[in-house]
Subunit: 468 residues, 2 copies
């Protein structure tokens, strides 16, 4: 990572060789999203405070903006009328869809890769700026259920395409809010949101601690807390197992199939069953039911997803999302959506620091053209132009320094080939070839070459990621 | 553009079909920069207030950030200790170079395409968020002069590559700060910065008005003002013409070749002469000397550039920059640089609204696979997967609606091909083919096709920009 300390805490910056890896990750994600017919958009970095604080949650970690000239004089303006930096790409999408509902085709499939910001207190290991890569499918009035399995499978495919960067296999853990809510109501819990919030802590604290919090914070009885935790222990990779486990728990905790809560839970069970069966058929082992998944955000109404990397569960979920039926509306018209978001910066950090992936070269250039002396620079420039015309990225030596120093420049940047232009008319201190020559400074091979037709060996043609 | 009015003033957002064009412009720029061996980086969106306000210029249009939880309570903290959004990519580069001077190879050639922000009052036609595409070459201690012609020529090549987007020919107008300053001092002017600032207004107000401002604001005599304006009238496309015109003006205004000011001016003349001659040799008609070019920013110390599009001069400069010898330093170590910045958002706006370029299709997908009924969706999904595996972007019909409605979805998104899966076992209301068929809904051609080998016609393979 770019030199620590001097930078601004929480705003990660990468060295060029690290950025080269991030760029390839982003290119790969984009390619997969576009292969699946998602449309790319960008939204403004800012939203109105009123959008960012839909429910007046001033506990949120948001950066508000002030114009320098008004700084300190704009405190009277309500926060809702200030601009703030977006903290995710879902709130901006919802605004974008409403604003452009007459102009886009539904279901609107969009991808978006952008920075988001969290106005947190600076603290070790917390990002205040990071990149997210999102896909969402938003319907007009309704949204077919198949998108609830399509969306996570696109992300699985994208993460699969990142395996050459050293990422372990990813598994999507899916749950359904209706399933959870129906079950909670069935055992008599009323404060659903609080229960979800506490259950969401299971990956950070012990089950016993969560049980206590469920009683202290969410008004559960010890029995209710135990039931909620038993539900959270259920995992399944096929629908029959899921249905059996769920029904067994309902029976154990006395949830009547004739009760109001049961059909709601059942809806969730059936959607989740469809998802894991379909996913197992298309990409076995990619998606499992995991009833522990709660998700912190309150706008989800159905499916919720988190994604973990095998052996890197400590990293937390690297791709999360869900279905939201009520986030976006315009009058009585609703725009239900489903989507997932990859935490790109967290992934890059894993790839750089845990995998310790490197780039095959720092420079995008495959060739550095040497310069015999400054009067002959135009010869070198011309060779470079010829190579570039054929799509071969080239640099030209910065100065007509001793040839060893020029080669060192190429070497520092990992440029594999050095091109030697032919000898010009006047004699020089150094021995020059009489025709064009190109040297692979990694293998040491040096051959005659024609700038109109030479091409680099395939393994040196493009910058690539190297994983040991 | 995305629906007006509802969006936040000054923060442009594009519809997906417009964003598709912006994305292609950005891809093209990046490709050219990488062909020339520039390394891509990204820097944080924020800088310390102290960096943004190097000279305490609180007149600057900057957005400062406050954490929501501290909003209204952080006014006591000096502006210098606040975070602010960067207003260009040069100030971040200078910090990045100093922080990472031990880790990067010099001369450091970097490209950077990012959003920047200006905390302006909202007003019609002014962007408060826009994208810049920058290249810079930064030396360690020194920087060879050839980069002062290399850098603008890379930008000319990049802009040339954008001609298929409907951009007219671009011409770089170059000047040199030393030339201007030497001349101004030669005629007895002392407040150089003020003169530059007023001369910079020549593209907005008349010469007579600038002459008045030079007297009122920059302390010039009428004769000095006249001399400054005569200098600003000089243009040249070759060095002999430039030298002759400059010497004639020096003679006319009594600038002694033995004076202290003349050698400074002469340095500038010679650098500029080199630039226009070299550029004329490599790319005739691409760069001209234009002594009116002043540039608003005070960190330039040598060459300065602005770039205009033929017949679109009203648009202003779309690519500007210069050489800065003192922007970046670390103790006594200096990092002189030269670079230019393309105003991407302004260009996109021109391409969309003046050229009225469109994208050949809204969706990246070349094919939409139809779905006969929901029970057969997996057949369609499988065909899409086969096509994607061979790099053909595909969408699948959102619902098994009547086939006409499915085709309409493809048509709205500009997807050229609709794929019809073969008839399944059970009879259906609609007539289905017995084998795979694919229809080009633009030409109407429908043919038998094999998902393992079919490819779209080349003109339909990729989304492209269409200029009438």
């Amino acid at each position: 990572m770019a030199k620590k300390g001097a930078s601004i805490s929480g705003f990660p910056e990468w060295l060029p060789q690290e950025r080269a890896i991030e760029q390839q990750v982003i290119d790969t994600l984009r390619e997969v999203f576009e292969l699946h017919g998602f449309l790319g958009i960008e939204t403004a970095a800012v939203e109105m405070g009123s959008s960012l604080l839909k429910k007046g949650e001033t506990s949120k970690e948001i950066y508000l903006l002030s114009r320098l000239r008004e700084f300190g004089q704009d405190d009277e303006t309500p926060v809702e009328e200030h601009l703030g930096l977006h903290f995710d790409l879902t709130v901006p999408l919802s605004r974008y869809v409403v604003e452009n509902s007459g102009a886009v085709t539904f279901p609107f499939k969009r991808w978006q890769i952008q920075k988001v910001w969290r106005g947190e207190r600076p603290q070790e290991g917390r990002y205040r700026e990071f990149t997210q890569a999102d896909i969402d499918i938003v319907g007009n009035g309704s949204l077919p259920e198949h998108y609830e399995v399509d969306a996570p499978l696109v992300m699985v495919e994208a993460l699969e395409r990142l395996r050459p960067f050293g990422l372990p296999k990813a598994t999507v853990h899916a749950n359904n809010r209706k399933l959870s809510e129906g079950f909670y109501r069935g055992v008599g819990v009323t404060d659903i949101e609080s229960v979800l919030r506490e259950v969401d802590k299971l990956d950070k604290i012990s089950a016993a601690e969560v049980a206590q919090l469920l009683q202290d914070e969410a008004g559960c009885s010890p029995e209710q807390a135990a039931a909620c935790l038993e539900l959270a222990e259920v995992t399944a990779t096929d629908s029959s197992h899921l249905r059996a486990a769920f029904d067994q728990l309902c029976e154990k905790h006395g949830i009547d199939k004739e009760s109001e809560a049961y059909p709601l839970a059942q809806q969730g069970v059936e959607t989740l069953a469809m998802i894991i069966d379909e996913a197992a058929r298309i990409r076995p082992g990619s998606v499992m039911a995991d009833l522990r998944i709660a998700r912190g955000l309150d706008y989800y109404t159905g499916s919720v997803y988190e994604t973990f990397l095998d052996g890197a569960e400590k990293l937390g979920s690297i791709c999360s999302g869900g279905r939201y039926d009520n986030l976006v509306s315009q009058g009585s018209r609703k725009y239900p959506g489903v989507g997932l978001s990859i935490g790109v910066t967290r992934l890059i950090s894993y790839i750089l620091h845990t995998v310790q992936a490197t780039t095959s070269r720092i420079s995008p250039a495959a060739v550095m053209v040497a310069v015999w002396n400054e009067d002959e620079r135009q010869t070198s420039d011309h060779i470079a132009a010829q190579l570039r015309q054929r799509g071969i990225a080239c640099d030209v030596a910065p100065t007509a320094a001793k040839i060893g120093k020029q080669i060192k420049y190429a070497d520092h940047l990992g440029i594999p080939y050095v091109w030697f232009p032919p000898q010009a008319g006047d004699p020089a201190a150094e021995v020059k070839p009489t025709g064009h020559q190109v040297k692979n400074i990694i293998s040491g091979d040096q051959v005659d070459a024609d700038p109109a037709s030479w091409t680099p060996a395939p393994e040196y043609a493009r910058r690539a990621v190297v994983v040991k």
